[in-house]
């Protein structure tokens, strides 16, 4: 399955990856061959096979509704690029 250049750009945008125009041809080739590899699965006959939600044949364990976490804000915010008054700061987002 061959991706075109616009699809590569779109994928990069969705993933928030900045790629150079000069790199697009490479990505196009590599991503397309990955898709080809995965696409071999399409050849398998899946009639009557229920889609699998998880590879492990197990059921979700549940936890009791208890507050078990303490406030570790100081600790977590040491690795944040910018904080103020307890908030994480990001470039301004306005809808």
């Amino acid at each position: 399955m061959a991706l075109d250049q616009d699809q590569v750009r779109n994928i990069a945008e969705l993933c928030r990856l900045q790629i150079d125009d000069s790199q697009i041809a490479d990505y196009q080739k590599n991503l397309s061959s990955i898709l080809d590899l995965v696409n071999q699965l399409a050849a398998a006959n899946t009639d009557g096979v229920e889609p699998m939600a998880h590879p492990l044949d197990a059921v979700q364990r549940l936890r009791a509704d208890l507050v078990t976490e303490d406030n570790q804000r100081e600790h977590f915010q040491q690795i944040a690029p910018a904080t103020d008054q307890g908030y994480y700061l990001v470039p301004r987002v306005v809808e």
Binding site: L62, E69, R73
Partner: protein, 491 residues
């Protein structure tokens, strides 16, 4: 052209769990920014979500309350998008296998009829954090306390045909989730939010018109107003031969208009896939039945019972049953006095007026249901007249306002005594007072006796007034009887 309005709602209700849907961080509202956002909520590497059993139980309870099929196998999916209030880069939600399938609720229309609205599905998901745009000098502040709060998103079929119906549906859902105790229903804190999908089509046309989605409307009133405004906007465009752009819009309550949100450069592509960190949830029939056992009486059932068993009017019953706390208050008082109509009048009268005046909820009213029941009982046995009852009620409210609330039943009796509100019903005592009044007002008596018999009823008025003035708190009914008898004796 005649247009038909088509409305579907997506309601997000925060589940009233103590901890988050996938972590042990608190969901308490109003904490300092980021003090309740743990490593799981922040999406730090190496963490694993573990599903909260209470969120599951609440979602199942909701499904049963709207008579829906419960998904015995439900699966969490990742909805991928980037936004600063979503630190993991995806929202954990349910796409193909929601916990709640097709169900329905009934809404009451203005003409008294009932309309059934089908619910397509309801699924579990996590809430995002909050962005604050003021006070950070060109930056936005992110508070992730809300991130990971459990939500159920309730999706209706596009079956509402007016803004009023949509508001009635939102109200009914609010009533149901608060009755179930699965959501605190506090709209001002964002516990319930609503996205409204609105489109128009020529009357009689099968095919739907292009719809717009109004995001995050957070009050009953605004649901109605936002939809009205959007209908008017779409109608103008269509009448002029234009076409509607499918888009997301925001409602500006100050201007009473909707406006388009800045459209993203790239169309949304959420790339859903099953969350590898979470296994499927399997539910057994006996679990569902055990949850069913815990269902309380729901608003519709309560409303019908108020009408059928206690003779309330449909309107009274609807008002009193809509809010669980109010219904409980009303019923507690009504049972004590064993007079539902009297209690209904008081709850919708003095009680509601006080709640409105003080802008408080029924739980904060300084007059307890037991106290109201006692007051009503004192009216019933003629210890208090209506005016006196109001005085006691207001005195209790005033105590509460002064920070000296006393919710004991004894306080009612103490107030009746200290305020001298007890009615004198003792016939002997009243006879003495009446005799004195008649003796002191010979001219009035003369006038009365000169009045033709058929007009004497009205002419008795001044005597009643004088008697009550002479002795405050006399039972007016007894006064009437005694007066009638005494005056008749005179001629």
């Amino acid at each position: 052209m005649e247009w038909e309005v088509v409305i579907g709602l997506e309601i997000h209700a925060q589940l009233a769990t103590k901890s988050k849907i996938f972590s042990g961080a608190s969901t308490q509202y109003g904490a300092d920014a980021n003090t309740q956002a743990c490593a799981v909520d922040l999406g730090l590497p190496g963490v694993l979500p573990v599903f909260n059993e209470e969120a599951l139980r609440m979602a199942v309870k909701f499904g049963l309350a709207i008579d829906a099929e419960i998904g015995k196998k439900s699966v969490f999916d990742r909805k991928n998008y980037f936004y600063p209030d979503l630190p993991k880069g995806y929202q954990t939600t349910q796409l193909h296998h929601p916990i709640v399938g097709i169900g329905h609720i009934d809404i009451e229309l203005d003409n008294g009829e009932t309309k059934r609205i089908n619910v397509t599905r309801a699924h579990l998901e996590e809430d995002a954090g909050k962005s604050v745009h003021e006070g950070f000098e060109g930056m936005s502040g992110i508070d992730l306390n809300r991130a990971g709060t459990p939500l159920i998103e309730i999706v209706s079929e596009p079956e509402m045909r007016s803004a009023k119906e949509a508001a009635a549906y939102f109200r009914k859902m609010h009533s149901i989730v608060t009755y179930l105790g699965i959501c605190d229903g506090d709209l001002s804190q964002g516990s319930m939010r609503c996205d409204c999908n609105v489109s128009l089509r020529p009357k009689g046309q099968q095919e739907f018109g292009t719809r717009t989605e109004i995001k995050n409307v957070n009050s009953f009133r605004n649901v109605e107003r936002a939809i009205e405004a959007e209908i008017a906007r779409q109608m103008d465009i269509l009448e002029d031969g234009g076409r509607i752009l499918q888009e997301t819009r925001l409602y500006d309550a100050d201007k009473n208009e909707t406006r388009g949100m800045r459209s993203k450069e790239v169309a949304n592509d959420y790339r859903y896939f099953p969350c590898p960190d979470l296994l499927p949830i399997l539910i057994e029939d006996n679990y569902i039945e055990a949850v069913r056992e815990t269902l309380p009486e729901l608003p519709d059932a309560k409303r019908h019972r108020f009408v059928k068993d206690h003779g309330l009017s449909a309107t009274d019953a609807a008002v009193l049953a809509a809010d669980r706390e109010l219904a409980h208050y009303f019923e507690t008082a009504a049972k004590l006095v064993n007079d539902y109509k009297l209690a209904a009048n008081w709850v919708q009268g003095d009680v509601s007026a006080t709640l409105n005046r003080l802008e408080i909820s029924i739980g904060q009213l300084p007059v307890s249901a037991e106290q109201l029941g006692r007051i009503l009982l004192l009216i019933k046995d003629s210890t208090l007249n209506n005016g006196g009852a109001k005085e006691v009620f207001n005195a209790l409210v005033a105590l509460g306002e002064a920070g000296k609330a006393d919710s004991s039943v004894e306080k009612v009796d103490a107030l009746v005594d200290s305020m001298g509100l007890k009615q004198v019903s003792d016939t002997g005592a009243i006879e003495a007072i009446v005799a004195e009044v008649l003796a002191n007002n010979p001219k009035l008596v003369e006038g009365y006796l000169a009045t033709p018999v058929e007009k004497r009823g009205k002419a008795m008025g001044p005597f009643i007034g004088l008697t009550r003035k002479a002795a405050a708190g006399v039972n007016p009914q007894v006064v009437m009887e005694v007066l009638k008898q005494k005056l008749e004796e005179l001629g």
